[in-house]
């Protein structure tokens, strides 16, 4: 099965890190990404620009509304994702727990809709 691990964290927290701390945090993500690749679980992964760059679009009665900002304002924001291959939910949860994001924020695990 494929699961999307969505990493939610407080992005201002990351912005406030010292250069050394930021390097360490990014190093942890790099190592995690490598581990996913080596074990054959990685399908895709990306880091997102902060929510200050987000634009939300909604079409109502044929009229396109464009709003500055993310879909939902929350304490923690979607900062990136990992699309992984895992045999079952427990395996996906194990990968979510290894993700550095689950230690400084939260990781939502969602199964991909099988067509």
């Amino acid at each position: 099965m494929q699961y999307l691990l969505m990493v939610y964290a407080n992005e201002s927290g990351f912005a406030n890190l010292s250069k050394e701390q930021a390097d360490q945090a990014l190093g942890a993500y790099r190592a995690y990404t490598e581990a996913l690749k080596k074990s054959g679980a990685m399908v895709a992964s990306d880091r997102l620009q902060p929510t200050s760059t987000a634009t939300t679009v909604r079409v109502t009665n044929g009229k396109t509304q464009i709003l500055n900002g993310p879909y939902a304002e929350a304490k923690e924001q979607l900062g990136g994702y990992f699309l992984i291959e895992a045999p079952d939910l427990d395996a996906a949860i194990a990968w979510a727990a290894r993700c550095p994001g689950s230690s400084h924020g939260a990781v939502e695990v969602r199964p991909i809709w099988q067509m």
């Binding site: 099965m1 699961y3 079952d88 939910l89 199964p111």
Partner: protein, 431 residues
């Protein structure tokens, strides 16, 4: 072969069908993770079995009979809607033919434990875990489960469907948990088994075979868990607890069918084989030193049935076991029972003040045993008027006619007794 419609034949068929049903749901869904699909596939076959088996006897291999019937029903259904683009249940059943071939060579692997652990997975909403196990493994319908858990049937049905959809779509695995996850997940499994038992236990007259089977099947499920997990003390404790209770099944009514409270039961009516087995299980559990709710409750039963050898109940042991249970669970029900036991060791006044210490809990206002205990302790203290009021409340809350009659007799005895044995008691100190 029993004649058609013979209650015993029907009961045997229903029991065999239900045992098979759980095994087949577990077997089919362990491969597809689709509990609802397995239920759909088997429901008609199950209904057919309940018509056919009382008439023709239970087949040699109930599992094979039900699987074959389910396959026939699925093929019929597919023929009826030939144009229907795709039928997931049908395709799934066809895929099962392979495994049915294997089945003909030997018994199905028993996946019920794996199914129970899938239902008790932490990704499943906690309140629905126990109902889900009851439905998936024992085949309870949503209405029965709803009444056992005091939830509206429609709500229960929706919650069960949602949980089954989550197991399937999120890929919840069917397997025995690892050591570090065991305690939490086992707890949910044991809670469900005990819930099934207590529902079956609530039919002391044995008037409803389906309910009596429920207690038996809960014991069966606990045996299954113990067989797979022989080192888990709480699983051993729960099985022991249920066996102690079951051993007293027929002693709960006296010869004339009237309610007999535990302390007044005739030990000759207890099933000593079951009690001996329970004692051994409890001893095995104590080897682990990991104490828990079920072991404590089993130990309480053990102290009660010690009467068969000692000729008296070990009340001091019971008080200290309830102390431990109260500390562990904070349950107001345990606190009531502790107060009753305390009345035996330290007198009715001590019991009553312990009871009044928990009286503020709003859950107790509608709890019959609280009022019955209060009435009894007040009666012993000679507080006739207050005792009568408490008896009335207990009688009004009781749904079992035999217990209601018992309470009414106790109340009538108050009037018969000549005079209060004691002067009005001092107000009980708050504990």
């Amino acid at each position: 072969m029993a004649p058609e419609g013979h209650p015993r034949a029907q009961e045997a068929a229903a029991k065999a069908a239900r045992l098979s049903y759980g095994r087949l749901i577990a077997f089919l869904s362990a491969q597809t993770r689709d509990v609802a699909g397995a239920e759909d596939a088997l429901s008609e076959a199950f209904a057919a079995a309940l018509v056919d088996w009382p008439r023709h006897g239970v087949p040699n291999s109930p599992d094979a009979w039900l699987l074959a019937a389910a396959r026939r029903k699925a093929i019929d259904a597919a023929r009826r809607r030939r144009t229907a683009e795709k039928s997931a249940a049908h395709l799934r059943l066809l895929a099962e033919e392979r495994t049915m071939m294997a089945e003909e060579r030997g018994p199905l692997p028993d996946e019920r434990l794996a199914l129970m652990f899938a239902c008790a997975h932490p990704a499943i909403e906690p309140v629905i875990r126990a109902p889900l196990i009851l439905q998936a493994v024992l085949g309870f319908d949503a209405a029965t489960i709803a009444s056992a858990f005091l939830v509206a049937p429609a709500t229960m049905g929706q919650r069960l469907s949602r949980a089954k959809a989550k197991i399937r779509l999120a890929g919840v695995p069917f397997r025995k948990p690892d050591r570090d996850e065991m305690a939490e997940r086992l707890d949910a499994v044991l809670a469900a088994i005990y819930a099934a038992f207590t529902e079956g236990w609530s039919d002391p007259g044995g008037a409803e075979p389906s309910r009596r089977n429920l207690a038996e099947e809960a014991i069966f499920l606990a045996r299954l868990v113990v067989e797979f997990l022989p080192e888990e003390p709480e699983a051993l404790g729960l099985l022991a607890l249920m066996l102690y209770s079951d051993a007293r099944r027929f002693a709960r009514r006296d010869a004339s069918g009237e309610f007999a409270p535990l302390a007044e039961q005739d030990p000759a009516l207890w099933d000593h084989r079951l009690i001996d087995e329970a004692e051994k299980l409890l001893e095995r559990a104590s080897a682990s030193t990991r104490i828990g709710r079920y072991q404590l409750e089993a130990a309480l039963q053990s102290a009660h049935v010690a009467r068969r050898r000692l000729g008296r109940v070990d009340w001091p042991a019971i008080v200290s076991l309830y102390d431990a249970l109260c500390a562990l669970t904070g349950s107001p029900v345990a606190a009531i029972n502790r107060a009753v036991a305390l009345a035996e060791t330290e007198g009715a006044a001590a019991g009553l003040s312990a009871l009044e210490a928990v009286a503020d809990d709003p859950r107790l206002k509608q709890y019959q045993p609280y009022w019955a205990a209060r009435a009894d302790l007040l009666a012993r203290l000679g507080e006739r008027a207050e005792s009568e009021t408490a008896y009335d409340q207990a009688i009004g809350l009781e749904s079992d006619p035999a217990v209601r009659r018992f309470l009414q007799q106790r109340k009538a005895r108050l009037r018969a007794s000549p005079k209060p044995r004691r002067a009005r008691r001092q107000p009980a100190p708050r504990a």
